[in-house]
């Protein structure tokens, strides 16, 4: 796949629940209780149980993989965790990923992604550098 600067991708949405958080805790080995225990989240001064930042980043990467049609193109992934995804005890939170190609020169392309949860930006300065053309 060839990428051109300025190309914008179709947004991808994910619905995440407390079950998603518990599953990610087990798969990643991050058992910080603020990601599944309301009491621990409140004691840490948080407004509620929050998703692992790394889960949100993984969802952004997953959107990227779908856009590129490849799971092995990423060379570099950098971001800040700017806000928290609060996941209610019942129901779900919606994470939306958008992205656009910002640079495409030689063997690499750069994609800037934006991730929001219920309308609020949760990852900042999220840049993916990928192999180009995409393998």
């Amino acid at each position: 796949m060839s990428l051109s600067a300025g190309t914008t991708f179709t947004p991808v949405e994910f619905e995440i629940t407390r079950e998603t958080l518990v599953r990610y805790a087990g798969a990643s080995g991050d058992f910080n209780q603020i990601h599944y225990n309301d009491t621990a989240a409140a004691a840490a001064g948080l407004p509620g149980v929050i998703a692992h930042g790394m889960l949100t980043l993984a969802l952004a990467n997953q959107a990227l993989c779908r856009w590129l049609g490849s799971s092995t193109a990423v060379i570099e992934l950098a971001n800040r965790f700017t806000s928290m995804v609060i996941v209610p005890g019942t129901g779900s939170a919606t994470v939306t990923v958008t992205g656009a190609v910002t640079r495409s020169t030689g063997p690499e392309a750069e994609i800037e992604l934006s991730v929001t949860a219920d309308g609020r930006e949760v990852l900042g300065a999220l840049i993916a550098r990928v192999r180009h053309p995409v393998p």
Binding site: R23, G26, A27, A40, M54, N61, Q62, S71, E76, R80
Partner: protein, 146 residues
């Protein structure tokens, strides 16, 4: 303050099941994460981990550094501030990883404490290498991130 680098005591072996569980946890539906034949026919040694798996492992491998009693950090108040992953090659099932973590920054940031670590990771039996930076914040008693 920054201390000696922290090494894994023994290599961390990445299993097929660990990759499958991680892929399922992050909605990664490409067969290269779950189906060995699909991964190999796409040219990989074995199942391929999603790109953020290495960073998730680095966060885990670096936790003993943040937990060092000498630092006195209350990790129950820790949130993630940012990360950078630079990957060389794909992390595959069967890879046996060595990792070394150093603290590169530890300072007050407003009312919080900011700690940044760099983890250098490589497969002892394959071409995969990664350098992963994690920045964590220890929130002060007032909580919010402003």
């Amino acid at each position: 303050m920054k201390g000696e680098p922290h090494h894994l005591q023994e290599p961390f072996e990445v299993s097929r099941e660990a990759i499958r569980e991680f892929a399922r946890a992050v909605f990664a539906d490409d067969p290269v994460h779950v189906d060995v034949a699909a991964a190999q026919s796409a040219g990989h040694r074995d199942l391929v981990a999603p790109a953020t798996f290495a960073s998730a492992l680095a966060l885990r491998f670096s936790q003993p550094v943040r937990r060092d009693p000498g630092l006195g950090l209350d990790l129950t108040r820790m949130v993630h501030g940012g990360q950078t992953s630079v990957l060389h090659g794909s992390l595959c099932a069967g890879d046996r990883l060595a990792a070394e973590t150093r603290i590169v920054e530890l300072r007050a940031a407003g009312r919080h404490v900011r700690i940044q670590t760099v983890t250098a990771m490589r497969a002892l039996n394959g071409p995969f290498e990664a350098t992963i930076t994690h920045t964590c914040l220890i929130l002060d008693a007032a909580g919010d991130l402003t």
